[in-house]
Amino acid sequence: MNQSQFRGTFRPYVSPRDPCPPILEKTFVLPPQLFTNFQKPGLPQNSPEEALKQGSLWPQFVDGFYREEGIS
């Protein structure tokens, strides 16, 4: 699963007086459905077991989300 294609970044203003250690680059989610207005027929499908595990029959619409990404 390539998550990076479904993530954006921006660099917020950093003040020398920021009370918490500043995060120089913030990441946010650009979920797969943003790039598909209408699903095309015949997309590659997950196996039934994998579809249940991932929450989608089509791997194309799975971007996953993990605490380890450190988005928040």
């Binding site: 989610v29 699903q39 249940l52 929450g55 989608s56 799975v62 996953g64 993990y66 928040s72």
Partner: protein, 189 residues
């Protein structure tokens, strides 16, 4: 009419007694962008949207109820054997006084559910755009829950639920495209 299947949409495994996590999960149970709000919103809007997209609202509303059931299971398991002291420590003291060990439709801050969380405008595009926004907000809520959850079983179920919001959002976007096609069709005649 509905047919009930006596099993969860996705297996919910809870490994810890963690009333604090249960309190946070209540945001998706009885919160503004939660599963109850979603289910009730779509179930009501479906009567006045164009015929071609009624089924999308019915199907997604039905699925949201199955998500609500998963959340109820998680919250119940995380709190069922907690002592009043443990609940109080987790910030659920007021909840315990009012509801005992039972669940209630409240958000993570203890604010009870209200119909003002949802809308039905009777304008197909206004309603579908509200639905897309609701799905994206629910997705974001799941992200922050995943970030704060320290129970791997709960996190796994939350990841499943988050992905379903992606798909629902896509289906509502497709519904908008279907309605846009109506205009192009008129041009042919």
């Amino acid at each position: 009419m509905w047919v009930y299947e006596k099993k969860l949409l996705y297996p919910v495994e809870v490994t810890t007694c963690n009333p604090m996590l249960a309190k946070y999960l209540m945001e998706q149970y009885g919160g503004a962008d939660g599963e109850l709000a979603a289910a009730l919103r779509y179930m009501n809007q479906r009567y006045t949207v164009p015929d071609k997209v009624i089924g999308v609202l019915t199907d997604i509303s039905t699925e949201e109820f199955s998500h609500l059931e998963m959340l109820a299971t998680m919250i119940y398991k995380l709190t069922k054997d907690a002592t009043p002291e443990q609940l109080e420590k987790a910030g659920l003291g007021a909840h315990f006084v009012n509801h005992g060990h039972s669940l209630f439709y409240e958000n993570a801050g203890g604010v009870p559910f209200t119909a003002t969380y949802i809308q039905s405008k009777g304008d197909p595009i206004a309603d579908l755009y509200e639905d897309i926004a609701a799905e994206e907000k629910a997705r974001a809520t799941y992200q922050w829950l995943i970030d704060i959850s320290d129970d791997p079983g709960v996190s796994d179920a939350l990841r499943f639920l988050r992905e379903r919001e992606n798909i629902h959002s896509l289906r509502f976007r497709e519904s908008v495209e279907i309605l846009k096609e109506e205009r192009d069709r008129k041009k042919i005649f």
